[in-house]
């Protein structure tokens, strides 16, 4: 039998410093639902992230097997056996092999099976539209998870953040602080940064964004619209 390790190599070419740690927290199950969703999508799009996540999930699983066991209640197994579905539903599951598309599966799962082309976008300002993924308002963790679609060639309104912002690029790309981001790249920004990413000319850019608090818009008009759409 072939030992199927994912190849082990140092992460020499990592540009993003926080990415590494986020994968470890993801593998261990320590992230909030919004951050977990972002990293799950990153892992699907980014082979390096996938490699690291696979190794660390193996580690986490190995350690799970070594945690303190808690006995199941007396009739747990019997009760579960009584609830098992019949073969019909098993066959259905077997056929449920959805093909990989532009929308990462973890995201589609959160959007009731919808893909990027099916969803309804809310206009934010001309050229910028949003679609809320986790609720219309903040989650208990104080985070928002939404999709942002920005017209090619446009600069995003200048803004900073109350907390962290994680943006996973799903389509198109942009420049921010002298660095280019494209599909499968994860862009971290913290509360100290004021930025205005400039979208590539030609193609619209779609990002999956997690923000820990509301964005702080520089412009008063965008501030008002922001209140209305709830990001």
């Amino acid at each position: 039998m072939n030992a199927q390790f994912h190849t082990v190599e140092p992460y020499e070419s990592l540009v993003l410093p926080d990415w590494d740690e986020a994968i470890t927290d993801y593998a261990a199950g320590n992230l909030s639902p919004a951050k977990h969703a972002i990293i799950a999508c990153l892992v699907e799009l980014n082979p390096k992230a996938a490699k690291k996540s696979a190794f660390e999930t193996d580690v986490a699983a190995t350690l799970m097997a070594a945690t303190q066991e808690v006995p199941l209640s007396l009739f747990f197994i019997e009760e579960t056996l009584a609830k098992l579905p019949y073969c019909a539903s098993i066959l259905k599951a077997a056929n449920d092999c959805s093909k990989p598309g532009p929308t990462p599966k973890p995201l589609r799962d959160l959007m009731d099976g919808q893909g990027l082309r099916d969803i309804v976008w809310k206009s934010f300002i001309p050229g910028v539209a949003i679609h809320n993924v986790l609720g219309d308002r903040r989650t208990r963790f104080g985070e928002r998870l939404y999709l942002l679609r920005i017209k090619g060639g446009m600069p995003m309104p200048e803004h900073s953040h109350i907390g962290e912002e994680w943006a996973l690029i799903l389509k198109g790309g942009y420049m921010s602080e002298g660095q280019h981001y494209a599909r499968g790249d994860l862009h971290f920004a913290d509360a100290t940064m004021v930025h205005s990413p400039k979208i590539d000319i030609g193609e619209d850019c779609i990002c999956l964004v997690m923000t820990e608090g509301p964005l702080k818009m520089k412009n008063w008009l965008t501030k008002i619209i922001q209140k209305l759409v709830g990001i």
Binding site: V8, A28, D58, A65, V70, I77, T80, C87, I90, G135
Partner: protein
């Protein structure tokens, strides 16, 4: 089947029987997939159920909810057994991943301030299909991994446990221990890298 734990500063010793355990799990899975063997499913969860429940309860999940989540996972193993490929992942990794994702999903559903249609939420919660992804280790390699973790230095084992078993993000660990975030990151990363390079050496030996 018990993994004996001997004191090594809270570490755990590798199980000599892990390879046969791997084969055993794989046989049970194929029995479930091929002829809906309920006994095989029961046997699997006699072993893994208490581990998964323990993992959940260590995260503060109550007894009843922990069992509900383990039950969901057990049903998924039943309906998804045909998708399990022992050459691509160990059963432990497969079932751990399902449990971890169930737990995140549970937090998502119960952590919302806005209430959406409960029927819709039910549909969303149920549609995750378990899959054994290519990137994971084979069962054989996962057994080596267990041995390699046990061979790390105490400090390295502690860092790994801190990251994977204390259920805290790097930031939370930093806040609690008073260690700078950079130090926490470096310690955890260097322990993971040590584990990786040891695994790489083992890999070369096998090929």
């Amino acid at each position: 089947m018990t993994t004996k734990r001997t004191p090594r500063a809270g570490g755990f010793t590798p199980s000599k029987t892990s390879v046969s355990a791997a084969k055993r799990d794989a046989v049970w899975l194929s029995d479930i997939a091929s002829h809906r063997d309920e006994q095989a499913l029961s046997d699997l969860f006699e072993i893994y159920g208490p581990k998964l429940k323990g993992w959940l309860m260590a995260r503060g999940v109550g007894n009843g909810t922990a069992e509900d989540l383990v039950q969901d996972v057990m049903i998924k193993v039943w309906t998804g057994a045909h998708m399990f490929d022992p050459a691509k992942a160990s059963f432990a990794t497969w079932v751990y991943r399902m449990t971890r994702n169930k737990w995140i999903d549970h937090q998502r559903k119960h952590g919302r301030m806005d209430v959406r249609d409960p029927e819709l939420m039910k549909i969303i919660a149920d549609d995750e299909v378990p899959s054994a992804e290519e990137n994971f280790m084979s069962q054989q390699s996962a057994d080596i991994l267990r041995d390699e973790i046990a061979k790390l230095t105490e400090a390295q084992q502690m860092a790994i446990r801190m990251a994977f078993l204390e259920f805290k993000t790097h930031k939370e660990i930093s806040a609690e221990t008073g260690l700078p975030l950079g130090t926490v990151k470096t310690r955890i990363r260097s322990a993971i890298n040590a584990l990786k390079s040891n695994m790489a050496r083992q890999q070369e030996r096998l090929l």
